[in-house]
């Protein structure tokens, strides 16, 4: 039995209301004890966390790892390394690969690739409909049994309301959520960015906010009727927030996530035809951003999820309407949100950790996101006493389509442990000598 003692650090665990200088003892990959001054002789190995804050490992319900079919921009291996570098220990990866993850074989492929080449826990999200075409339901039971964690046609909406209704009825039976990419493709039309003063000035076709909010309202109504669990992905519009708030008030099984980019940027970021500000749903107006922040703060939106969407550099070097949608986000999620919301005093550290670790685990009804004794030792060491410029060298993803290159960050991930195993150490935080001595 291997015992690891992480000492000299500060433990911040919202699940236990802890934020204190405490030691943490890991036995056989699980948290054994969190207490003051645990004797060093109880451990086989010491990790000196002097200057670091120990948090439960983060959980990302929304990533794209591109394998199979898009290995030029990301693989399960590189994606899991990017996740570990961002402090994530569990991530869900979306099925819009080539082929689409809609069969047992597809799910099995991701599960086995994650076992052999992934360095953190990677859980496949299988598609709602075969080929994500929105026509025939996927075999939910078989896919779940093979290892799928949820279902989504992310990248495409389920436009046919009756298909969504049946999907919710079936997944309710199995007790898993549908991750809902809410978008009315007819309302989106040719739109490539938020419809507003900026799109008007740039001469780019706009996507109206109701393209999202009408489908959010529809799917909440369907969840109400079927009793299924609808999880709204990457909420971006203030009308969607209102629909979710109303749904929760009425006791409907609806949860929601918001991305770091929708919390920190608006359509103004597109000015200059910046393709790193092109994503779906689009960056909306400042009023929407404020509504999203308020919704996360009051619990209407449950958690943060990155929608990590890698694209090879050449594809983003393009005219705006020719570039693909999406940006990467796992390495930057915590540093960006810490810098913009915690360092500024708007949020407590515990609040952010809860939204990135405990809340997503709660949505999935999984026992993660906590440092309670008995839990898996999935954790991350945070360096909150730094200031540096975020650069391409900080990325572990195969792609670098990141809008925050050049941003001054006030936090970084020092190390990440999965089940007590160190899966990431930040060379900027551990010198060779210290690493040799401590790790």
């Amino acid at each position: 039995m291997q015992r690891i003692l992480i000492h000299n650090g500060i433990v911040a665990d919202p699940s236990q209301g802890l934020h204190d200088r405490l030691d943490l003892l890991i036995e056989d990959g699980r948290i054994a004890e969190v207490a003051k001054d645990i004797p060093r002789d109880r451990a086989d190995r010491l990790i000196d966390a002097q200057g670091f804050t120990i948090s439960p490992g983060f959980i990302d319900l929304h990533t794209h790892l591109r394998e199979p079919g898009g290995e030029g921009s990301e693989t399960i291996e590189t994606g899991s390394r990017a996740a570990a570098a961002g402090g994530f220990t569990t991530i869900y990866c979306m099925p819009n690969t080539n082929p689409v993850c809609d069969t047992r074989t597809g799910v099995q492929f991701v599960v086995s690739r994650a076992e052999t080449s992934g360095i953190i826990r990677v859980i496949p999200v299988a598609s709602v409909t075969r080929g994500q075409k929105g026509e025939e339901l996927a075999e939910f039971g078989a896919l779940l049994e093979t290892g799928a964690g949820a279902f989504s046609d992310d990248g495409h909406p389920v436009m046919n309301a009756n298909i969504m209704r049946r999907a919710l009825a079936c997944t309710r039976m199995l007790g898993v959520p549908i991750f809902d990419h809410a978008e009315d493709m007819d309302l989106t039309g040719a739109g490539v960015m938020h419809e507003g003063p900026v799109s008007l000035r740039l001469g780019l076709p706009g996507i109206p906010r109701i393209s999202e909010s009408t489908i959010v309202a529809r799917d909440i109504a369907l969840a109400d009727e079927t009793g299924g669990h609808i999880h709204i992905c990457h909420v971006s519009a203030r009308e969607s927030v209102e629909a979710i708030r109303e749904g929760k008030r009425n006791g409907i099984r609806v949860t929601a996530e918001v991305s770091p980019h929708h919390l920190t940027m608006t359509d103004e970021a597109v000015i200059g035809y910046n393709t790193h500000a092109k994503m779906k749903p689009p960056l909306n107006a400042e009023e929407d951003r404020q509504a999203l922040i308020a919704a996360l703060e009051d619990g209407t939106i449950d958690c943060v999820a990155t929608d990590h969407a890698p694209h090879a550099a050449t594809t983003k070097l393009n005219v705006f309407d020719g570039a693909p949608y999406g940006i990467i986000g796992m390495e930057t999620a915590f540093p960006v949100l810490y810098t913009d919301f915690v360092a500024t005093g708007q949020w407590s550290l515990e609040f952010l950790i809860e939204k990135m670790a405990l809340a997503p685990a709660r949505i999935m009804e999984q026992p993660w996101g906590t440092l309670r004794p008995g839990s898996l030792a999935d954790l991350t060491l945070l360096d909150l006493n730094c200031e540096y410029t975020f650069e391409e060298r900080h990325l572990r993803s195969k792609s670098s389509n990141c809008p925050w290159l050049g941003k001054t960050m006030k936090a970084r991930i020092a190390a990440t442990l999965l089940g007590g195993e160190i899966v990431f150490t930040n060379p900027d935080c551990f010198s060779v000598e210290r690493e040799g001595a401590a790790l």
Binding site: L200, R201, L202, G203, L317, V319, F320, D321, G322
Partner: protein
Amino acid sequence: MSTDAPAPPPEPSAAALASKDLLGIEPLSADELTLILDNAVGFKEIVTRTIKRVPTLRGRTVVNLFFENSTRTRTSFELAARRLSADVINFDVATSSVSKGEALLDTVETIEALGADYIVVRHSSSGSAEFLARAVKSSVINAGDGAHEHPTQALLDAFSIRERLGRIAGLKVAIVGDILHSRVARSNIHALKKLGARVALVGPPTLVPKTFRTMGVEVHHDLRDGLRGADVIYLLRIQLERQQKNLFPSLNEYKALYGITPERVGWAAPDAIVMHPGPVNRGVEVTTSVMESDRSLILDQVTNGVAVRMAVLYLLQGARNRAADSHT
């Protein structure tokens, strides 16, 4: 200064434009706009001579890179360049195989490597001119990028208004039609506002959303309201595909609500002039009789286009020379 300095234009100006590129009207100052218009006066004198050529750009190469067909604009740029003694290459890329991304960059880098001093580009993507300008050292002139800007059109329009009415400041200009999809409208809004005019946009809400008010203009869905007191009625071409996309029910309905007839010209200020960037859908946005009346500036616009584009080529040359000097 090299010893082979370009010959001065009729009224040489020491000033130049700040940028090597002309990507839009929005980034230009009112002084820069006026500089271009003032220079165009001299060039117009040249193009009305018997021998319409000066040696200003001798040895320079202008490449017209048109990803969308436009005989009118391309011909105007070509004439402007030739009258300044530049070499002109027309590079027509009507097919879409090179119209996006990498292939677009490859094309423009190839053209630069062939020795282009100016690349005049028209492309269906908004922002394409800016995208290319970032990639090359040649001067990029935007001849229309998607629904974004068409700066030389707005310059020739401003020149034509000033020539006919003697001023721009204080005038009211009503722009009627499909503003939403129009780069001409956007460039005109910027130019007219910077030069002190009042701008009113007129059309159905699907083509003239109220959000345009954020650009500092009036928005009218009623033609009579929009034309009231207008010194200039500026018409845009209505494209049939807009009807196919259900942005308005039919061309007849559009014509009934917004078509300009001799009677409706009377809703504007006395002596109001009528303009159109062409090509005109006769009988849709405007009747033939209005088009051919002496209030119409449509042919002047075409003539003035060459003079204004000569002024742009000349002034960008100044910006390029200055940039070259600062490198040495």
